[in-house]
């Protein structure tokens, strides 16, 4: 098992005004697999991802990566967030290379380089170009500043930046929400390739049934307050062109209807 997660209880607020967010959410993520987490917005999916990333440690339960507890953020667990964050003072290339300076492999040697965080320029450029190609950014895009890019391009940039440290697990929070249909499909292929070729496992949070069904080896449905796992399913569909099979469309419809039912009692 690459990652095992067990959140027995997670709440926000202090005595008198407590919101219970998650309860008994437990699952494992095997190596080279994609786990989809599906549920109505505001159900605690993002909180769950923050816990797994080690950014939030105020909960009862545990997160273990290859048997070792995750108590703080690590390069082995990557994260992309819904509101794409860009480091605006860096070019797109600089943004993608951001994590390089913390890489033991590529970190510049010498006291001054370590003090300023300089990295070996050539090796960095090579790495950035490779990732840019994977996510579909051109050479000229790399020289731009994030502010000159569309939301979709920024998402590609954020995805490349998260891939760069070669994490064991990459957490995707609504990863491709602001992309048009075609770009979304092409990046979904990138995710599948990263799983197969780089051996990265993914947890993909989304409220898009098609995305979750298409990408995931297993789908969890979270709902309620506090949120629990109310449904687990393993899509047993052929990988190639599965998007266009009747089975896929049927499953997608089912999941959409489930989402609609989940939304109603909240109002």
């Amino acid at each position: 098992m690459t990652l095992s997660v067990s959140v027995e209880h997670k709440s926000f607020g202090s005595s008198g005004n407590v919101t219970n967010v998650l309860s008994d959410v437990a699952f494992v993520v095997p190596p080279r697999s994609i786990l989809g987490i599906f549920g109505p917005s505001g159900c605690g999916k993002s909180t769950l991802l923050r816990i797994i990333a080690g950014l939030d440690v105020n909960y009862t339960g545990f997160v273990e990566l290859k048997g070792k507890p995750v108590t703080h953020p690590t390069r082995n667990i990557g994260l992309t967030v819904q509101t794409h964050i860009s480091y605006d003072w860096l070019t797109v290339a600089g943004n993608i290379a951001f994590g390089l300076r913390y890489s033991p492999r590529l970190n510049g040697s010498g006291f001054l380089n370590r003090l300023t965080g300089r990295v070996d320029g050539k090796a960095a450029a090579k790495e950035v170009e490779r990732l840019a190609e994977i996510v579909g950014l051109s050479q000229s895009d790399l020289q731009k500043y994030p502010e000159e890019m569309s939301g979709g391009m920024k998402q590609r940039m954020a995805f490349a930046r998260a891939l760069l440290p070669h994490p064991e697990v990459l957490l995707l929070d609504e990863p491709f929400s602001s992309l048009d249909f075609e770009s979304r499909q092409s990046l979904q292929e990138v995710v599948l390739r990263a799983r197969d070729e780089l051996g990265i496992s993914f947890i993909c949070v989304s409220h898009d049934p098609e995305e979750v069904l298409y990408l995931s080896d297993e789908v969890l449905v979270l709902s309620g307050r506090p949120a629990r796992i109310i449904n687990r399913s393993i899509p047993t569909l052929p990988a190639k062109d599965k998007r266009y099979t009747q089975e896929f469309q049927g499953a997608k419809k089912e999941l959409s209807q489930l989402l609609n039912r989940l939304k109603k009692p909240k109002k």
Binding site: L55, R101, Y145, P165
Partner: protein, 271 residues
Amino acid sequence: MSNDRRKQLTWFKFRGPISRNRYVAFFLASLTLLFALWFVFSRLGTVPQEFFPSPAKVISTAIRMLQSREFIEDILASAGRIFVAFLISALLAIPIGLLMSSFKFVEAMVEPLIDFIRYVPVPALIPIFIIWTGIGETSKFLVLFFGTFFQLVLLIMDDADNVPQLHFDLARTLGASTPQLIRDVLVPYLLPQIYDRLRVTLGWCWTYLIIAELIAVQRGIGHTIKEAQRFNAADQMFVCFLVLGLIGLVTDYAAKLAYDRLFPYAIKSAR
């Protein structure tokens, strides 16, 4: 004609753009109007000529004063005081402000104290500065330092507090340690804002400088103004005002030009 009218209407378009030429034209128009009013008012004689000099008189006095070594030395003395006090105050305020935002214990130790001192008007402190350090340069330095440091620290801390948490979270998942978060996210994120804060506080620095120089000093623009008062030389005062205003205008404009060079990404986002 109708075309012209449409153009005029765009002036009042909320936050509408305006061409560079037009911008300059409007500036020159208001400047001309100001000089015309000045000229007319000085000619009316409601205030005697010696107290309200005409533009021509001020210009001739300015030419005379700027040729004298003394006045240039006065300007340099004032600028020198500003430079030293502002540099030290900024060099202390920036790291302290950043640390206050980064670590709550630093904030707890420093903020209440700063808030307290900040509300004591600096001119009220001048007598005690003079008792402590005499009327020399040190007391001037203290006035300038107290006038800028405490404001600047809080501004920097507030700016730092407003950096979105996700920027740091993301850097942590990429492997950044706490010092690296400060070096690689906090500081570069804030640089354009810090630069702007410095530009604005530099203006306040001049205010406190003149207050300091009016009290007791042998050299400086404030001193020149005070001397002019003794001789009822309003024209000399006007020259000082002009010099002060021009120094402010030029440094501010230069700082803005440099901003575009230093932070190309920041201009692009503003466009």
